[in-house]
């Protein structure tokens, strides 16, 4: 795992997979900031209880052991999210069927453990590949689909037929 340059020591939770998730997390964080600001304006007493957080923000704070009541942690989180949106590599990966949450979580965990810890995935749907996936990095495309595998093995059936024509069928 390689940390992203310019990171502030935070990590994305496994539930945050796509740039949309990051933007949603940022929006939640901004909403939290607004809520806390409103609460500060209404009362002079210190705020002891956070408003209810969203699932991803909750996961983000727990993953990074952040106290969202602290302005410093919120600022770090906001900076991290901004940096992530601006600099994190976004890989496009397409599957034949709709990927479940747990499945995408496992995939993104692999990327963050093996490629870069702030990798974001843009998940697409491409039924024609039948199985496997198609990964598109900034400059390359890696076709791990069953369609590609069959295309590479096009001559295998013909060779088999030529080699043992009487055994076929």
């Amino acid at each position: 795992m390689e940390p992203s340059s310019g990171s502030v020591g935070l990590n994305l939770p496994s539930g945050v997979v796509t740039p949309g998730d990051v933007r949603r997390l940022r929006r939640e964080l901004k909403n939290l900031e607004d809520s806390l600001q409103q609460m500060r304006l209404r009362t002079t007493t210190p705020i002891a209880k956070l408003p209810r957080l969203g699932r991803q923000l909750e996961e983000f704070s727990s993953t990074n052991r952040l106290n969202m009541l602290l302005p410093d942690d919120r600022q770090r989180s906001a900076a991290f999210l901004e940096h992530t949106l601006g600099h994190a590599p976004v890989l496009h990966i397409a599957f034949a069927t709709e990927a479940s949450r747990s499945f995408t979580t496992q995939i993104v965990l692999w990327f963050r453990q093996n490629i870069q810890n702030d990798v974001l995935l843009s998940i697409g749907l491409e039924p024609s590949i039948a199985a496997g996936c198609v990964l598109r990095t900034p400059n390359k495309q890696f076709d791990f689909s069953l369609r590609s595998h069959f295309a590479k093995q096009t001559n295998l059936l013909v060779d088999k037929l030529k080699a043992e024509p009487t055994n076929v069928g």
Binding site: P89, L91, F95, A96, T97, A99, S100, S102, F103, Q106, I107, W110, F111, N114, I115, Q116, V119, P127, S128, I129, A130, A131, G132, C133, L135, T137, P138, N139, K140, F142, F144, L146, R147, F150, A151, T154, N155, L157, V158
Partner: protein
């Protein structure tokens, strides 16, 4: 001896000649004396002659002569006609033979020429047909070669097309058949294996990417 005999013979011949001359003169003199009319009796002789002529060559005798002449003439004509007919038949026969021979000869010549012409024409036709057959054979062999080549090419193309299409059809069928049946969770291991295999390439692309 011989002279005597010769003189005897000559004397006999002279005697015979003198006797013959004398008899001839005697006979000629008597006839001339007897037939010569006397002067003053000429009219009576002519009259007598006319009478005798009329008496001898009367109408009946003339008629008889005419008949005889007619018969003789008819006989002569008949004989001549017969001879003419025979000659004509002979001539006709010869002419026929001649004509037959000439015509036969001419016909044989013409037939020979005609036969020769027919033979030449037949030979020409045979030569032309032979040439045509040769050309047709050459063209047939050429066409057969081309056809075999075309068939072989077509067969190769069809086989190649079949192989290509067969693989595509099988691929398409398998993809269509299993596309919806394989759960993504089941594919996770294979996908992660593929990602692990290409991990370095992915890393390199991200590092040196945009």
């Amino acid at each position: 001896m011989t002279i005597w005999w010769l003189a005897t013979i000559v004397g006999t011949l002279l005697a015979a000649t003198l006797a013959f001359v004398w008899v001839a003169v005697r006979l000629g003199h008597g006839a001339a004396t007897k037939g010569k009319p006397q002067p003053g009796e000429a009219g009576s002789f002519e009259k007598a002659a006319e009478t005798d002529v009329e008496h001898i060559f009367n109408e009946q005798f003339r008629e008889e002569l005419k008949n005889r002449g007619r018969l003789h003439f008819e006989k002569i004509i008949s004989e001549n006609a017969m001879f003419l007919q025979q000659d004509l038949r002979l001539t006709t026969s010869q002419l026929n033979e001649y004509m037959k021979g000439e015509i036969t000869k001419t016909l044989q010549d013409e037939f020979s020429k005609y036969e020769q012409s027919i033979t030449d024409a037949k030979q020409l036709a045979i030569d032309a047909l032979q040439k045509t057959n040769d050309v047709i054979d050459e063209q047939r062999q050429s066409l057969a070669g081309q056809l075999e080549q075309e068939v072989a090419n077509e067969k190769a193309q069809l086989i190649a097309q079949f192989e290509k299409n067969m693989a595509l059809v099988v691929n398409h069928y398998v993809l269509a058949a299993v596309g919806d049946q394989i759960d993504l969770t089941d594919q996770l291991e294979f996908i992660l294996n593929d990602l692990e295999t290409n991990k370095q390439a992915i890393l390199e692309d991200i590092r040196h990417g945009a």
